[in-house]
């Protein structure tokens, strides 16, 4: 069966949800699933079934899906044993339920018998015209519906990234990064054994989903490589796809009569396939989220010319080194930009790119300089460094024995205001000019409550933990922009 957008809406925006196999035991998946749905603010109707009819979380349960009112639910979250599921799906379909998430194990991962059971499940679901996700998956998230139908944590902030993973644990990892970075998620699904629908089906839904701007996928293998490529290629025309592949290096050397055959290893073929399809492949889970968060929060650059703007210090120097390792261009400042900056900056400023502002001059210097640089036609993107230093000092003062006396309260508040202003200005300029402006500081990790970090996050942007990572990510954005540009997209 080819799932339709209606099937996915039944999964992601159900009118009501049934947890089949709800349990009163807090250690059971049937408890956790119900708990998470009810704890995270889902506004639709929630039903739970339990054969003994025991209360769960202070609410009565239904004896079976047969007791759910007709048309009251679109999604059933299945925690019952595999043997009970065919009857359950038939009963659910009779109630108008169009989607099932199957957390139950005992399918394709469980030997010959499990594979047979999985095949039967799929053909039954096809007959019932029902979307079945899983089995053996961890759940599904949909922030526009405040839906946290999963047997793991966390529940992420709302955002524009659509996630699908062949490992449920990496869905959790991605959502942990969503919480830490403040750049949120629209939908997420653990594909489990991907019996009826797999990664490509979700990517196609995300491409059409008005809640989703970027897709993020973890894959271990694709069953029909050629077909996967063709589908991926169509998805990337609509939205960027960030892809991380597990088991990339496990493919052994193959016997090949040709040199080409021995050079075209599994991993290089996969990598070339991604590049050809316009998908952005990265090597780590951490980088995957960072790149997806960047696609979700920054415009694509129109060119590769980067200006590095730094309040002071060696940051600019190492960032220049990082840029030299990429396809980005640390362009030379043109005369008109030099002259404009001379007017704003003290004579000791670098007069070069990276633009070292040498501490600035007045309380308005930093946002003014950033604005002049970002607005210049030669600038395609900005890496903005040295944010949060003053409010980091403010933190030491606030936590020290002299606070709030000796004028400390006023200066600490001033620094916080300034750092917030600098970073929110950067975010507003990026949006206004449609140019990426990436803020990088290790305070994102070492002091996440720093005013510059908070300002960046509250303005809806990702705060990079190092300039190196900002540059690597920007390079991938530029590569994708180039891919689109060369194909007239």
């Amino acid at each position: 069966m080819r799932p339709t957008p209606e099937h996915f809406l039944a999964l992601f925006e159900p009118r009501g949800v049934v947890v089949a196999g709800a349990s009163g035991h807090p250690g059971k998946f049937g408890f956790v699933a119900l708990h998470n749905i009810r704890a995270c603010g889902y506004q639709g109707a929630v039903f739970a079934t339990n054969r003994e009819g025991t209360e769960v979380l202070g609410e009565p349960t239904l004896h079976s899906v047969d007791d759910v009112p007709d048309g009251a639910a679109d999604l059933v979250f299945v925690c019952t044993p595999a043997s009970a599921n065919p009857d359950l799906l038939r009963a659910a379909a009779a109630k108008g339920i169009r989607a099932a998430f199957i957390a139950s194990a005992g399918y394709g991962e469980a030997g010959v018998e499990g594979r047979r059971r999985q095949d039967e499940l799929v053909s039954l679901a096809d007959d019932l015209d029902m979307l079945v996700v899983g089995p053996n998956g961890q759940g599904v998230i949909s922030t526009p519906a405040s839906l946290c139908a999963q047997i793991v944590a966390p529940y992420p902030p709302r955002g524009r990234i659509g996630i699908v993973s062949q490992s449920g644990n990496f869905v959790s990892s991605f959502m942990n990064y969503a919480i830490a970075s403040g750049v949120g998620v629209s939908r997420a699904a653990s594909a489990g054994n991907a019996a009826q629908v797999g990664v490509a089906d979700f990517l196609e839904f995300y491409a059409a989903d008005p809640e989703t701007d970027v897709a993020l996928a973890y894959v271990e293998g694709v069953p029909d490589g050629r077909r996967f490529f063709e589908r991926l290629r169509r998805v990337t025309e609509d939205i960027p796809v960030v892809l991380v592949k597990g088991g990339a290096t496990s493919g052994g050397a193959r016997a090949a009569a040709s040199h080409t055959g021995s050079l075209a290893t599994d991993d290089r073929v996969f990598d070339g396939m991604c590049r050809q399809a316009g998908a952005t492949r990265v090597n780590t889970i951490e980088e995957a989220y960072e790149v997806a968060a960047t696609f979700a929060t920054q415009p694509l650059p129109r060119g590769g010319r980067v200006a590095v703007v730094s309040t002071a210090g060696g940051w600019g120097v190492v960032t220049a080194d990082a840029i030299a390792r990429t396809t980005l261009d640390l362009f030379e400042l043109p005369g008109d930009l030099l002259a404009a900056l001379d007017e704003k900056l003290p004579p000791r400023w670098s007069r070069n790119n990276p633009i070292d502002m040498a501490g600035g001059e007045t309380k308005d210097t930093i946002p003014e300089v950033l604005s002049i640089v970002a607005r210049h036609d030669d600038v395609d993107a900005v890496v903005f460094l040295g944010m949060g230093i003053q409010s980091n000092q403010g933190r030491l003062e606030r936590e020290g024995p002299f606070y709030p006396d000796h004028g400390l309260d006023r200066i600490v508040a001033f620094h916080d205001r300034q750092d917030r202003r600098y970073t929110t200005t950067a975010a507003a300029l990026a949006d206004e000019l449609s140019k990426p402006i990436l803020i990088a500081t290790e305070l994102a990790v070492t002091s996440p409550d720093n005013a510059a970090v908070r300002g960046t996050i509250e303005a809806g942007k990702y705060c990079y933990p190092s300039s190196n990572r900002a540059v690597t990510t920007l390079d991938l954005l530029w590569r994708h922009a180039r891919w689109r540009d060369r194909r007239g997209l």
Binding site: R254, A255, A257, G261, D271, G272, M273, R275, Q276
Partner: protein
């Protein structure tokens, strides 16, 4: 020579493949626009010398046959032959070096090209994604360096351009030791030609253009090895 693409492990019978001779490999790929040097076939020393006289010296003489794959390793390539006597001697040696296992053989006589840079390009069948096309930095270190880019067949020009951009050793592709920069359009043409050949010849399993010399920046494939499905030559 033949190889088993699938493993012999009690599963389905392996796909049998055979290789084409260098001359036939080149003829197949040249039809799609892969640039090869002008080349003559000969069956004895006298016709080899006549061919070399026609081409002009120096020349290369190689042993050619449907069951000869790794000529260099077996010493079946003689380079830089500067006069008729050298060609005559090389032709006699190569024909004498042929073994009964090599089947029918002939001699290939080609002009001796000089270049400081080499690429490797080719086709290979991937079990998951089907036919792929590859380009990389060539030469004796090609497999150790492994600076290559791969795409799925068919490719468009823009894909081929991306492939060249993807290579790490870009400096080898620019102006180099007094030679002009690589003619990127011409190399793109080679990759497109490979892709078209793979589409047209579904029996194709792999193809090697190794090396592709950059002669004053222009690509010229001086060797080709095509592998197709089918029973090996007897």
């Amino acid at each position: 020579m033949s190889s088993d693409v699938a493993q012999m492990d009690g599963g389905p019978p392996p796909v049998r493949t055979r290789i084409l001779s260098e001359a036939d490999s080149k003829a197949l790929l040249a039809a799609f626009g892969v640039p090869f040097p002008p080349e003559h076939q000969a069956t004895n020393a006298a016709t080899a010398v006549a061919a070399a006289d026609a081409l002009g010296y120096p020349v290369v003489v190689k042993l050619n046959g449907e069951r000869i794959a790794h000529k260099t390793e077996r010493g079946l390539v003689q380079l830089g032959l500067g006069d008729p006597e050298a060609v005559r001697r090389a032709a006699d040696q190569l024909l004498a070096a042929a073994t009964p296992d090599d089947g029918d053989v002939s001699l290939l006589i080609a002009p001796m090209l000089r270049a400081n840079r080499e690429l490797i390009a080719g086709l290979s069948h991937d079990p998951q994604f089907g036919m792929t096309v590859m380009v990389g930095i060539g030469g004796i270190l090609a497999e150790a360096v492994a600076d290559v880019a791969v795409r799925l067949v068919p490719i468009e020009r823009v894909d081929a351009e991306d492939m060249l951009d993807e290579l790490t050793f870009q400096r080898l592709l620019g102006e180099f030791r007094g030679e002009p920069a690589m003619d990127r359009d011409a190399v793109v043409d080679v990759l497109i030609a490979l892709s078209c050949a793979a589409e047209a010849h579904t029996e194709l399993v792999s193809a090697d253009l190794n090396p592709v010399l950059l002669v004053d920046g222009a690509p010229v494939a001086v060797d080709a090895l095509v592998e197709v499905m089918g029973e090996p030559a007897r």
